[in-house]
């Protein structure tokens, strides 16, 4: 009796550990492209199934949108956000430092809502460095002239074409490339 109880609780712990360590990418069910490769789609560098939760953190919204749009947490994996938030005093050449309290709250929001389909052991600092971004913005998708348009300025300027980027909506129907 006590042995089987022990065995059962051991099994429960093992299952719990498995569920904790299981990559969330296994929850992916909205496409089959890339299945069978070791890391999944885009070599495992895929944005989250939902890039921005319906309920967002108010501090994230306010602080991150001071200088650029508040980039949706699901565009990068948790480790990327930890790195970004750990280096805000030199944030792409700019001092974007926060108080320790603000930093913690925003980091928690980003990490908790980071990409759930990222399986690669990579953690880029720039969204435009990711495999999914490069594929989705290659010369077939975005003609070179669009990037040269001063209204676009930089790949960091999502809302130049993704009109609803600030709401975390990057759907095809809301893309409008400037002329």
């Amino acid at each position: 009796m006590s042995l089987s109880h022990k065995k059962l609780s051991g099994l429960a712990i093992a299952m719990l550990a498995m569920s904790l360590s299981m990559p969330a990418a296994q929850a992916d069910d909205d496409d089959n492209e890339g299945r069978g490769s070791r890391h999944g789609k885009y070599g495992g560098e895929d944005r989250g199934r939902q890039v921005q939760p319906a309920q967002v953190n108010a501090k994230w919204q306010k602080e991150c949108s001071s200088c650029h749009i508040a980039y949706a947490p699901g565009l990068l994996p948790a480790e990327s956000w930890r790195k970004v938030m750990g280096g805000l005093n030199k944030h792409f050449g700019t001092d974007a430092s926060l108080t320790a309290q603000e930093n913690q709250e925003i980091t928690d929001f980003l990490v908790n809502n980071a990409s759930n389909r990222w399986t690669a052991p990579t953690a880029p600092l720039q969204i435009s460095e990711t495999a999914w971004f490069k594929r989705k913005h290659d010369s077939h998708e975005v003609p070179a002239a669009v990037w040269k348009n001063p209204l676009v300025k930089s790949p960091a300027n999502c809302q130049a074409c993704h009109t609803q980027a600030e709401r975390g909506d990057f759907s095809e129907r809301n893309i409008k490339m400037p002329r």
Binding site: C67, H68, N89, G93, T94, D95, A96, S97, A156, N157
Partner: protein
């Protein structure tokens, strides 16, 4: 006695409630006063100068940047982030009541922007000169 305690407790709660309202935040002059308190500790401090603040605001530093790079030469007008192009609300309190109303926000942005433009923090003298200049601007 109990009644009294109750009433004063309520009064305290009301006061605390008001203090937490950003709408009743400090006026720019109060922020200037606290910068002055810090500046007074500097030897030879002779007060703030709006003219000196204006020169400082518009002066290009070693990296080619100035405060005006983003806030423009007219702080009552909207600006534009030098790198990202994002719109920046006017900086002069006469044009934007939210400016210099929250001491923590003022501290945060002086630290960030001075580090970006001058690669160092700004002295209380410089901060006070700039705020004095901004307060002379009429919308």
């Amino acid at each position: 006695m109990l009644q009294k305690l109750h009433t004063s407790g309520l009064a305290l709660m009301i006061v605390a409630g008001f203090a937490a309202q950003p709408a009743l935040a400090e006026a720019p002059n109060q922020i200037l006063d606290s910068i002055q308190t810090a500046a007074k500790n500097t030897p030879g401090f002779k007060g703030f100068s709006a003219a000196r603040g204006e020169s400082f605001f518009k002066a290009k530093q070693a990296n080619g940047l100035s405060c005006a790079s983003c806030h423009t030469d007219n702080p009552a007008a909207p600006g534009k982030h030098e790198k990202t192009g994002k719109a920046i609300e006017p900086l002069a309190p006469s044009a934007n009541a939210q400016r210099f109303a929250d001491p923590a926000k003022v501290e945060k942005w002086f630290k960030r922007n001075c580090n970006d433009v001058l690669a160092r923090v700004c002295t209380p003298q410089e901060q006070g000169d700039v705020l004095s200049y901004l307060l002379t601007i009429k919308n």
